[in-house]
């Protein structure tokens, strides 16, 4: 079942979804597109470039899941 499928069937009363992605502190992430993002502050991502320092780990997960970095 894809993450999207899970979300479509989910509701507030359902248990927490499994953690699909966990950011790896040792890995370097690069941006998949050039875009500004608001995380724990505002950051500029540049396609193909390493993501700026300062983005919290929790937000890294979200950026991966949203296909903005890998």
């Amino acid at each position: 079942m894809s993450l999207d499928d899970k979300n479509k069937k989910s509701s507030d009363s359902e248990p927490a979804a499994e953690k699909a992605v966990v950011a790896d502190n040792r890995k370097k992430y690069v941006a998949l597109k050039t875009i500004k993002v608001i995380c724990n502050g505002e950051f500029s991502l540049e396609e193909g470039k390493e993501i700026p320092a300062g983005i919290d780990k929790a937000f890294v997960n979200s950026l991966i899941n949203s296909n903005l970095i890998k």
Binding site: K6, N7, S10, A16, E18, V37, I38
Partner: protein, 290 residues
């Protein structure tokens, strides 16, 4: 020498008194006009070739009064249109820090979600100066990103990015258990991995810091017209007082204000003057001093 004439000039104020609840009085002072039209129709007896009626008898009186109000306070709203207590919700002191309503899903169920979506939207501590008031629409653009749209940009706190009324130029990212600050608001992610469904929509409303807040509803269920007495005072000059009292009236006005280009809103109130049960007249005009 002839005595000074009885006359009136201008309009000073109109006073409304609730006939059922004497604790409720209201007034209007910024008035354009108060024009009673109580004249009685005359029914002519016509016949034959005579061009002039043979007789005339009284018909009905119109019993109408038109009031043009240019500024008012909430006390008179109860008189002007069908009213029930719940037709007004007032916060006399306003909200010092502003407020935000609960995020509510409108399309889908993934955006407002306690574990995999946005668990809550709240005021950012110390961020009230950045609040942009209006009705917001949040739309999911990625598993963990949203765009925001707002229906009002009159504060200068936001800038529309397009004609769809999107306001964020950067993707707003929602993270597990973390807060994302934007425009004086904090969007707190649910405890699980954020995974919202693209296209899902949720709404909320932001109120700015204020010192007064009134919601006035027109057409509220159960609302009825109130009966009141109406007294109109003219401008006075040299101690002269001119007033007309209508002991029993009901009114009909469109209380939502008009919004006019480069003009103040005024409200035209149609008042029906009714025959009172307590006195044997429908209007009494008082002339104090010549």
């Amino acid at each position: 020498m002839q005595e000074p004439m009885l006359t009136t000039f201008g309009i000073h104020q109109a006073v409304f008194k609730d006939l059922k609840d004497p604790s409720k009085w209201g007034m209007a002072k910024i008035l354009g006009s108060a024009e009673p039209d109580l004249k009685q129709e005359l029914i002519a007896l016509e016949g034959g070739s005579n061009i002039i009626p043979w007789n005339a008898a009284p018909g009905r009186a119109s019993g109408e009064l038109t009031l043009t109000i240019r500024q008012y306070d909430k006390q008179i709203l109860r008189f002007l249109s069908p009213y029930i207590d719940s037709a007004e919700v007032e916060d006399a002191d306003g909200e010092a820090a502003g407020s935000v309503t609960t995020l509510t899903n409108l399309v889908g169920t993934s955006l407002k979600h306690n574990t995999t979506g946005i668990a809550s939207v709240g005021l950012k501590s110390g961020g009230s100066a950045s609040l942009a008031p209006g009705n917001y629409k949040a739309v999911v653009t990625g598993a963990a990103t949203i765009d925001l749209y707002i229906d009002y940009d009159g504060t200068g706190k936001v800038e529309y990015q397009n004609s769809d009324m999107k306001i964020n130029s950067s993707a707003i990212t929602i993270a597990s258990g973390a807060g994302t600050d934007y425009l004086g608001l904090t969007f707190t992610g649910g405890a699980g991995t954020i995974g919202m469904t693209v296209g899902d929509i949720a709404i909320f409303t932001v109120y700015p810091p204020s010192n007064y807040l009134l919601k006035s509803y027109f057409g509220k269920a159960g609302a009825v017209n109130r009966e009141f007495s109406l007294t109109i005072y003219s401008e006075c000059n040299g101690g002269k007082i001119r007033s007309t009292n209508f002991p029993r009236c009901v009114a009909s006005a469109s209380t939502p204000p008009q919004f006019l280009e480069n003009d103040w809103a005024s409200m035209e109130v149609t008042i029906n003057v009714l025959q009172p049960e307590t006195v044997d007249y429908v209007a009494e005009t008082l002339f104090i001093n010549r």
